[in-house]
């Protein structure tokens, strides 16, 4: 999201809007990307993002193939640059990459002439998630500019949060982040956000509340004392929802820990747009594929 201009973000969202209806048709397929090949290269496990990309590519008739770290020569010790060069030799049009190291897609993009989409790198960015979040907000609220957004959870280690913050700020939303101090990035104010530690204060008067997944494995890194403590102090439950605006929307990038960062009745409740996010993810990714390899435009999305 760091590299995308406001105009480019708007173009993606507008394109997604016109492509969304394809997924609602009886025959959910158009020939736009026939003869184009897309490699989904996932160094890290992923269900939602990977399926969403696969679905998007197939609905546009692109040929897709999936690589994962465990089933590839990565386990044989091949370097990323060598893998990249080998993939390039097969001349794909686009590579979608998920990697546990920050900057890995940037490294890949320097090595290949195919377009590269970052599907999540380390704790850095997850730009397609941010785009689908922006799309969902715009669809629900009619605009993004001037909205007040709260993001609650482990901001410091969340690539979703980082991309959301960048994208929302670019489109003119005000962002408040909330979590225990161990989960707030160093010098967070320099990201252009307001920092609070009280979830009620974070929720009040917000148009959008984004809950982040608490990564249970981080407990071992002493970022928080435990799930029970976290749910008590930061979980979004009905009691806290009483402080929210009546037209608030609740978002979550998934996968959810029900009963930890979000109570089940909130996740499934009337304010939740969580499954809409997933549906919109396909449209947004179709838009990206179309814009990058559907016509004469070329470039890298990050």
């Amino acid at each position: 999201m760091e590299q995308l201009s406001v105009e480019e973000i708007r173009l993606v969202l507008d394109t997604a809007e016109s492509l969304k209806e394809i997924s609602l048709r009886e025959i959910k397929k158009v020939p736009t990307l026939r003869g184009k090949s897309v490699i989904h290269f996932f160094y890290e496990p992923s269900t939602r993002t990977r399926t969403s990309f696969e679905m998007a590519a197939k609905r546009l008739s692109a040929d897709t193939l999936s690589l994962s770290a465990s089933g590839s020569s990565i386990v044989k010790g091949e370097t990323l640059i060598d893998t990249a060069r080998n993939l390039q030799a097969m001349n794909p049009d686009l590579i979608v990459m998920r990697h546990s190291a920050t900057g890995a897609p940037h490294l890949l993009a320097r090595e290949v002439s195919a377009c590269v989409i970052n599907a999540g790198d380390g704790i850095n960015e997850h730009p397609t998630q941010a785009l689908l979040d922006l799309y969902t907000i715009r669809e629900r609220k009619g605009r993004i500019e001037g909205l007040d957004v709260a993001i609650i959870g482990d901001i410091a280690h969340s690539r979703v949060a980082r991309s959301d913050i960048i994208g929302m700020r670019k489109l003119g939303a005000r962002v408040t982040i909330c979590g225990p101090p161990t989960m707030i990035p160093y010098d967070a104010e320099t990201l252009g956000v307001k920092v609070v530690h009280d979830p009620v204060q974070a929720i009040r008067d917000k148009d959008v509340i984004m809950m982040l997944r608490i990564q249970l494995e981080r407990q071992s890194r002493v970022l928080f004392p435990g799930v029970r403590e976290y749910a008590t102090f930061f979980g979004l439950n009905q009691a806290r929802m009483r402080h929210a605006k009546k037209d608030v929307i609740i978002m979550h990038p998934g996968p959810m820990n029900r009963g930890v960062e979000i109570a089940s009745d909130v996740a499934d409740g009337p304010y939740s747009v969580i499954l809409e996010q997933v549906a919109n993810g396909v449209a947004v990714r179709m838009a990206l594929l179309y814009l990058l390899i559907g016509g004469s435009r070329r470039g890298d999305m990050d």
């Binding site: 760091e2 370097t79 990323l80 640059i81 990697h99 190291a101 920050t102 900057g103 890995a104 940037h106 490294l107 790198d121 380390g122 704790i123 850095n124 960015e125 410091a156 690539r159 980082r162 990035p185 160093y186 010098d187 967070a188 320099t190 990201l191 890194r221």
Partner: protein, 417 residues
């Protein structure tokens, strides 16, 4: 600075005379024209990694010595994190043997503080010293156990070895790969807080206070460390310190773009830290400039930023980067030479750093005015991992002499464009 002729005979400086003041002549007399150049005591780098034994594909004693001579250095102190670790006489002797075979610059091995750099049992300081080691350090790793470090300071003082501390609380730096600050938050890389360095700098000072023994802090990078060392010196403690040229030249924004050639440990810090390092050099809080020359091959550097090895090479860029401090008014010429020659020689307890009658003729002739850029093909080191390639540099060594022998001389066609 004075205008003098330097007469060298049988490896030693025989006499310094006014220009033209040396009257003898003969077929054996060889003249080196140095008009418009500056003749200085040979530079001494008290912190380099020569990678031999074990990582010869990155650097060898020979290639590192060549890089050093090219950069104006006549002596290098090499760190023990080789494979095997230099924690015993045979490795120390091997390194010295390679240095003799290379026959270029003086090489002073720094041995490990603890066996295998494991932080547990002390190495045989006395035996290592008699084998030729000049100091001890677990560089690359910090001695975590404070009791072990205390005993190391006490035993090293008795053995006549300098203890060089790599000050880092590794539990706090954790999996960090760059300075923890506004830039790491923005570009999404795990950070190493300044406190990870400062906690251990403070510990070393406290141990020096406790034992009355000297300690030397390697590669100081933060404002807080400079303040701690300043205070220790004011208290009269035997605490000394070095920094590296990158810490007073670059800040953490150099990492942007996930540039692994700007990844080192300690990491590049904030602009405020860069200023504090300069102030520390100016006030004498920081005694020496050392390169922390850390060669790595593309195998370690052309990878994901988080996977890349820490460290950059520095021998061939240290002089121009340090001379930039003269232009900035941070140091004067004698100040630079003190930090790069006489102080490190004194700290290591070796000859060098002086240009006077009777001392070994280790000297460097510097062209202070040439501006140039170094390309990867210009480097003498076996490795290329420098953030200063293709950046404008000013000033460089023209000739390097060790014990009266010219070990390197720039040809018209030689490095730099």
């Amino acid at each position: 600075m004075e205008e003098k002729d330097v007469v060298v005979d049988r490896g030693r400086i025989q006499v310094l005379v006014p220009p033209g003041g040396f009257q003898e002549d003969g077929p054996q007399l060889k003249k080196i024209e140095a008009r418009g150049r500056i003749v200085v005591p040979g530079l001494v780098d008290m912190h380099v990694h020569l990678r031999e034994p074990g990582h010869e594909y990155k650097e060898t004693v020979e290639s590192g010595g060549r890089a050093g001579a090219t950069g104006g250095f006549t002596a290098l102190a090499c760190m023990p994190n080789t494979d095997p670790v230099n924690d015993n006489r045979s490795v120390t002797e091997f390194i010295l043997g390679q240095a003799r075979a290379a026959n270029r610059v003086r090489v002073y091995p720094v041995a490990a503080i603890t066996r295998g750099q494991k932080g547990e049992a002390l190495t045989e300081f006395g035996d290592l010293r008699s084998a030729g080691a000049v100091g001890v350090s677990d560089d690359g790793l910090c001695v975590v156990n404070s009791e072990v470090m205390r005993r190391a300071l006490e035993y090293a003082a008795y053995s006549g070895l300098i203890v060089i501390s790599h000050s880092e609380d590794r539990a706090l730096s954790n999996n960090g790969v760059m300075h923890e600050g506004a830039v790491s938050s923005r570009i999404g890389l795990p950070g190493i807080p300044a406190a990870a360095e400062e906690i251990m700098v403070f510990r070393e000072i406290a141990l020096s206070r406790l034992t009355g023994c000297p300690v030397h802090i390697a590669h100081v990078s933060t404002e807080g460390s400079v303040a701690l060392i300043r205070r220790a010196k004011e208290d009269g403690l035997k605490v000394t310190a070095e920094t590296a040229p990158h810490y007073f030249t670059l800040d953490h924004t150099a990492v942007v773009g996930y540039r692994t050639e700007a990844k080192m440990n300690p990491p590049l810090r904030r602009p405020e830290d860069v200023e504090a390092i300069k102030q520390g050099l100016k006030e004498g809080v920081i005694d020496a400039i050392a390169t922390d020359h850390a060669p790595h091959s593309p195998l370690e550097k052309d990878v994901e930023f988080e996977k890349a090895a820490f460290g950059i090479i520095g021998l061939e860029t240290a002089l121009p980067l340090s001379l930039a401090l003269v232009e900035q008014g941070v140091l004067d010429w004698p100040g630079v030479l003190q930090k790069m020659s006489s102080n490190p020689a004194r700290l290591l307890g070796v000859e060098g750093g002086r240009l006077k009658e009777g001392v070994a003729a280790d000297l460097t002739i510097i062209d202070p005015d040439t501006t140039y850029r170094l390309g990867p093909e210009d480097l003498q080191s076996n490795s290329r991992n420098s953030p200063f390639l293709d950046t404008p540099l000013k000033g460089r060594a023209e000739l390097t002499m060790v014990g009266g022998r010219i070990v390197w001389k720039r040809r018209a066609s030689h490095p730099g464009r």
